[in-house]
Structure formats: structure tokens, C-alpha cells
């Protein structure tokens, strides 16, 4: 840094419209330069097209400004042009790692408005699929977070399980990412023969391999060094920002829709919510990892409960929700997903608001980054688990 003696502004060639300037502060032995660093929108550390502008003073982050909207596809407008069955295809795609849990919310909203009776078996099937989808989502983040911290192996481990589970879900739904398996009144078709047996097998195998992840990532000294105490989030800030899911549970608040306002049949079984203590990056990851085990426990309970019977109910030729508004909140893998569905009695919704967990959770990033060191910025960014499509919709 010895040649930083002048105070003239150096403007490097940069992305269009970007004003990055270096200003030299102080004249001691270690003069620091205040600069703003634009990461993204296409940067490997942001897993997706997410951009963040960091104001740096030397290595210290003074402020962070996330710039979002690079994946804004106008879901809420498009939903106003599609009927209640077609919306499922849209909601599948905003959080592409948890397609099943997304479409669940729409189905529940429409059913509640139409006062449709959903057969028991369909509800248990939905729960089973939602929990498998939750595991799929968390495995992806285990792989990608470790990758961001410099370890490539967990990604291969995670995808080994992911492929098995995707194969399982595909056998019933026909989709690998976007299932479109829900429909108002139940699920599309019944489970194929031998599904539950196979599901139990995979559950057993995944449970055995779960210890691998604990040893491989959580017990890793480097991982601990980079995450313990990094980016702690206090409880009141988390609540005021509307943060949910693993990020909230890491602060020690057990607010989980499956427990506090059970939907489907979650009231009939034990749902464990793993909690953290300090709300730092390590706790967030710890909670995420242990939610896999919790979901496996739920899956095993579902296998015992699965009743026989029909899986869907007769629908009118055209689904028209009656006039009124409903707010349905379900526990998505990344937090609580809320759909505000306002109908004017027509074939398409009047207003379809998606309250997506990532949008709220990412609001915490400026708070978490304040005063952190630059190398920790990546640890923090990755630990607030988000999907870019879920932020921008």
C-alpha cells in the first residue's frame, strides 16, 4: 500500500453505470483506502444473480447494500393472468429448490376458500413430499455453503443423496425440480407401488449418512474457524425484520408454522425444531443440518400413519374462488412462506401476493455485514440461506 500516497481519485475501468472510487484516508504507516466493492450479479459466491455493494474501509466492511431484482420475473402480475390451477406452475418456480412446498400453499389457499374437503391420504402424501423436498433443499445448501467456504467435497456428497431423493420424488410426481403434484382438492395421482418401502429405505440410508455431514462439515476445524461467532443476529432484530426459518431458529426462537399453527396433519405428529443459541453463521448452518434429521424423523412417522383411501376430490370444471381474501402461511425450507390471495370471484386472482422467506431474510445482510471483515462477508452471505428467485420473484 506504499504507493497510495496521493489523494487523487482513481477510477478504474468498470461496469457501465458503476461509480467505484478510491479515496485515500490517513497518512500513517497503514493508510487505508475507502472503497466500494461491487460483488455480483454474476459472482460464484453469491450463488445466483445477486449483487451486493460493500463499502470497505481497508478490510473492514462499513456498510453493505444488496442490489436485488436481477431475477425479477413478475410472478405476482403473471398470477393475475392465470387461473388457480395454472398458478401452481408459477409458484413452483420462485424458490426452485422447494417447488413442492411452494405449490402446497396455493393448494391450501384455494381449498380453504372453496371449503373443499381434502382426503386424509392426500394430506399425508403432501406432508411426506414436503418433508422430502425440505431435505432436498437443505442438502443443496450444505453443498453450496461448504463450497463457498472452500470445500468442494460436501457438494458431491450432497448430490449423492439429492439424486436418490429426486429419483424417489420423480417416481411419484414426474418432476425432478418442479413437481406440480398438488392440485386443489388433493394430489394429482396416487403414489406408485412400493413407494413407501423405497421411501423408508432412502430415509434409513440418509439417516446413516447424516453423520458424514456432521463429521465432514460441522466438525471441521476450518469450517468452525470461519463461522463461529461470525455475523450474530439478535432476536429482536430478527423478529423486527421478519426473518424466519433456519435463520430465525438459530437465534433460539422456535417459531415454526408446523408447530405453532399446524396445517395439514402436522398437529398429529411430533415436529422437532432444532434451535441455535447465538444466531451466528455456525448456528444457522447447525440448524439447517439438523433440520434434515428432524425431517427424517417426521418422514418415519408419516410412514407409520399413511392411511389408505382416495387422494383427490372431484372438482368443478372451473375453479373460481369466492370473493374475499385469505392469507396462508406454510413452513418452507428457508422460512415461512405466505400467500395472500385476494379474489373478486373471477377465474383468476385479483391479487396474489407472495411473502417469500428469502426476501425478508436477505434484509438482514446489511445488519450482519456491518463491521465484519471482508473474508467473513462470504461466510455471512452464504449463511443467510436464500434463493435468488425467492427474493426477486
Amino acid at each position: 500500500m506504499s504507493d497510495l500516497e496521493t489523494t487523487e481519485r482513481v477510477l478504474p475501468s468498470n461496469a457501465p453505470g458503476e461509480d467505484v472510487a478510491f479515496e485515500i484516508l490517513g497518512d500513517g504507516d497503514f493508510p487505508t483506502a475507502e472503497m466500494s466493492l461491487s460483488i455480483g450479479p454474476a459472482h460464484p459466491a453469491t450463488h445466483g444473480v445477486f449483487r451486493i455493494v460493500l463499502d470497505l474501509d481497508g478490510e473492514r466492511v462499513r456498510g453493505a447494500r444488496p442490489v436485488i431484482g436481477y431475477m425479477h420475473r413478475g410472478f405476482e402480475k403473471l398470477a393475475e393472468y392465470r387461473d388457480y390451477r395454472q398458478i401452481a406452475a408459477l409458484t413452483n418456480r420462485h424458490d426452485w429448490l422447494s417447488g413442492f412446498c411452494n405449490e402446497l400453499g396455493v393448494a391450501i389457499a384455494v381449498e380453504s376458500m372453496l371449503e373443499l374437503e381434502v382426503p386424509d391420504r392426500a394430506q399425508w402424501i403432501r406432508m411426506l413430499m414436503a418433508e422430502w423436498n425440505r431435505i432436498l433443499n437443505h442438502l443443496m445448501f450444505i453443498g453450496s455453503y461448504a463450497l463457498e467456504l472452500g470445500a468442494i467435497t460436501p457438494m458431491f456428497y450432497a448430490f449423492r443423496e439429492r439424486e436418490d431423493i429426486q429419483h424417489l420424488m420423480e417416481s411419484a410426481t414426474g418432476g425432478r425440480l418442479h413437481f406440480t403434484y398438488n392440485q386443489p382438492g388433493g394430489v394429482k395421482i396416487d403414489l406408485p407401488k412400493g413407494f413407501l418401502k423405497r421411501s423408508a429405505e432412502i430415509s434409513k440410508v440418509t439417516r446413516e449418512r447424516f453423520d458424514d455431514y456432521v463429521d465432514l462439515v460441522l466438525g471441521n476445524e476450518i469450517f468452525q474457524g470461519r463461522t463461529v461467532g461470525v455475523g450474530p443476529l439478535p432476536q429482536d432484530v430478527a423478529l423486527s425484520l421478519g426473518i424466519t426459518g433456519p435463520t430465525l431458529h438459530a437465534t433460539g426462537i422456535a417459531e415454526d408454522s408446523r408447530v405453532t399453527e399446524p396445517y395439514l396433519k402436522y398437529g398429529d405428529i411430533d415436529v422437532e425444531v432444532p434451535l441455535g443459541e447465538n444466531g451466528d453463521a455456525f448456528d444457522r448452518f447447525y440448524v439447517l443440518l439438523h433440520r434434515i434429521r428432524a425431517s427424517l424423523d417426521i418422514i418415519d412417522q408419516i410412514h407409520d400413519h399413511m392411511p389408505a383411501g382416495p387422494v383427490n376430490s372431484k372438482l368443478p370444471k372451473m375453479v373460481k374462488a369466492p370473493e374475499g381474501a385469505i392469507y396462508v402461511r406454510t413452513e418452507n425450507p428457508l422460512g415461512q412462506l405466505g400467500y395472500w390471495l385476494e379474489s373478486d370471484g373471477g377465474r383468476t386472482p385479483w391479487r396474489f401476493k407472495m411473502r417469500t422467506p428469502s426476501f425478508s431474510n436477505v434484509q438482514a445482510i446489511p445488519y450482519l455485514m456491518q463491521g465484519a471483515l471482508l473474508p467473513d462477508a462470504i461466510s455471512i452471505l452464504g449463511s443467510v440461506f436464500f434463493v435468488v428467485g425467492d427474493i426477486d420473484r
Partner: protein, 316 residues
């Protein structure tokens, strides 16, 4: 976990909540609605900030989690803003709703970012989508989701999707449109209707037709057949595979095959310029003269043709 649920005993019922709010807000509270389990409290614009503060600070209410804030188009009366709050201690949820001052031209709503941090981006999003201004918000711009130089407020009902004006719905059914009798408009999809590379459309359309032969794909002449077909996804696909069902399917397949053969014959018999009959030639020529590309001109002319056809059918 158990202590979270134990505190639920303290939760106020909607009636008690309304009483308490009416006591504190007076005329600021307009009315309350409880439907589908959602408790909505309509408040005056002036009482908006007060209501939010009360919800957070009043120990009996204790709405500590900020859940959501968004706008709703309220037709000619302007726009509504809804804030959804949740209490982790009582498990209650409340939706505060107010109508923005300023009508459709200059809607404004006071900001509650001082009360709930989470309202920051939500208000920016509402401004971006509806053009509702939030006085008191630290920095409402630049646009948070859309491109910075985007024009218009996309979620307003008077903002129309340009692609829909230019191109007909590429699928078989148009959900947002009904004909005069309130029936679904079923349209024959044409190769090239959907945006994108023409070859890809063609390949996908052909594949789709080969895989899923459906009677309604084959023109308007087999209308009665199309009526037999359940228009939407059938609820129970494997409900009753009875003999009559099988027979019906067989008959349908036959009808399809005939219709396809007929269509193929028509196509072969017609001139090589297969799309020409479906175009509004005047519109096409005009667009070409304006310097539009051939693909756009073709698709717009096709849309004009379909529109004209529909108008004609409506007259007849």
C-alpha cells in the same frame, strides 16, 4: 417449544382485539373483517402509524414479528396497503389495512420503517410495483425489483402486459378470457405463436402433438367432441376405468385420427404458403412497411386475424 405454546392462553380473541384497538384508536379504526381465519383491521390513513405502534408496544397484543407489507389495487378508489403482523408469544396474526390518500394519481401512505425494520424493502417494493409513495421512508428509490429505467407501475390493473397484446396465448386455453356466454375460449395453437426460435417451437409443438393427441387441437369442426373432453385436469384420472370409459376413449381416438387425416389432407391440398390463410394481410404488409421483422409482423398479423375471426363469429 412447549413454553411457546403455553403462552397461547394469553392470546386475545379477535373480538377482544377489536375492542382494545377501538378503545385506543377511536375513529381511526373503520371496521374489522374476519374471513378464512384472517383478521383484517381497516384503519384510517391518519391512524396507520399509530395502529402499527400500538400493535407492537401494547403488551396484550405484542405483535413482535413483522410479516409482510404490500399493496392492492382498489379499482377507482386508488390503492390499499396491507401490513401483516404476527405475535410469536400469542400466536395471533393481524392484517392492518388502509386506503392510500391521493387516489390513483398520487397515492401516499405513511412509512412504518421506524416501527418495524422489515418494512423497509417491503415499502420499496410497493412503491416499485404500485407507485405508492411512503413519506418518512429513508430511501424509497431506486427501483428495487424492476430495471432502474422501467416505466409504469406493473401491478396496477391499468398496466397491461405488452406481450399479451402482441401475441395470442400459446396454449390451448386462455384462462383470463371468456367468450360472451362465459365459456372458455379454446384456441387452436399455431406453430410460431409462442415467442422464441421458430424451429424450437415447431419441434416442440410437433412432439407435443405426437405425444398427446387431443381432439381440441384439431380445429373447430369437431366441437362436440371437444365438449366431451373434460376441459380441465380431471380430478380422479384413475377413478373408474370402466368399459364405457374404454369405449369412449376408443371412439375418441378414432375421431382424432380422422380429424388429423382430414387436416393433413387439407394442408397438402392447400398451397405451400401454409400460414398465409391465417394472417391478416393488411396488418402484415403495414408492419413490414414499418420495418418490423418478419416474425413479429407474422405473429401480430396472426393475432389480428384471430381477433377479427372471433368478432365475426360473435356477430354470426
Amino acid at each position: 417449544m412447549s413454553d411457546v405454546l403455553a403462552r397461547r392462553d394469553r392470546a386475545l380473541s379477535p373480538e377482544e382485539t377489536e375492542e382494545l384497538l377501538r378503545d385506543r384508536l377511536g375513529d381511526g379504526l373503520q371496521r374489522t373483517v374476519l374471513e378464512y381465519g384472517v383478521f383484517t383491521v381497516w384503519v384510517e390513513q391518519d391512524a396507520w402509524v399509530q395502529a402499527a405502534t400500538l400493535c407492537r408496544d401494547e403488551p396484550l397484543l405484542a405483535y413482535d414479528m413483522f410479516d409482510n407489507l404490500f399493496g392492492i389495487d382498489a379499482r377507482e378508489e386508488g390503492f390499499d396497503v396491507v401490513a401483516v403482523l404476527y405475535s410469536t408469544s400469542t400466536g395471533n396474526r393481524i392484517a392492518l389495512r388502509t386506503r392510500c390518500a391521493g387516489g390513483r394519481d398520487e397515492p401516499t401512505c405513511p412509512s412504518i420503517t421506524d416501527i418495524y425494520r422489515g418494512a423497509d424493502w417491503m415499502e420499496r417494493e410497493t412503491w416499485d410495483m404500485f407507485g405508492v409513495d411512503f413519506p418518512g421512508h429513508p430511501q424509497i428509490g431506486p427501483r428495487i425489483l424492476t430495471v432502474e429505467n422501467f416505466e409504469g407501475w406493473p401491478l396496477r390493473k391499468d398496466f397491461h402486459l405488452a406481450s399479451r397484446a402482441a401475441k395470442p396465448w400459446p396454449g390451448v386455453k386462455e384462462p383470463a378470457e371468456l367468450d360472451e356466454d362465459g365459456n372458455v375460449i379454446e384456441r387452436v395453437p399455431h406453430i410460431g405463436d409462442a415467442p422464441g426460435p421458430y424451429d424450437l417451437d415447431k419441434a416442440m409443438a410437433e412432439q407435443a402433438q405426437a405425444m398427446n393427441p387431443r381432439p381440441e387441437l384439431d380445429g373447430p369442426e369437431d366441437d362436440d367432441d371437444a365438449d366431451d373432453e373434460p376441459a380441465e385436469v380431471e380430478a380422479g384420472p384413475d377413478d373408474d376405468p370402466t368399459v364405457s370409459g374404454a369405449e369412449k376413449a376408443e371412439a375418441r381416438r378414432k375421431a382424432q385420427a380422422e380429424a388429423r387425416a382430414k387436416k393433413a389432407a387439407e394442408r397438402a391440398g392447400g398451397d405451400g404458403d401454409e400460414g398465409a390463410a391465417q394472417l391478416d394481410q393488411d396488418v402484415y404488409d403495414q408492419l413490414i412497411a414499418e420495418g418490423k421483422s418478419e416474425r413479429i409482423a407474422r405473429s401480430k398479423a396472426k393475432a389480428a386475424y384471430i381477433k377479427a375471426q372471433r368478432a365475426k363469429e360473435g356477430d354470426a
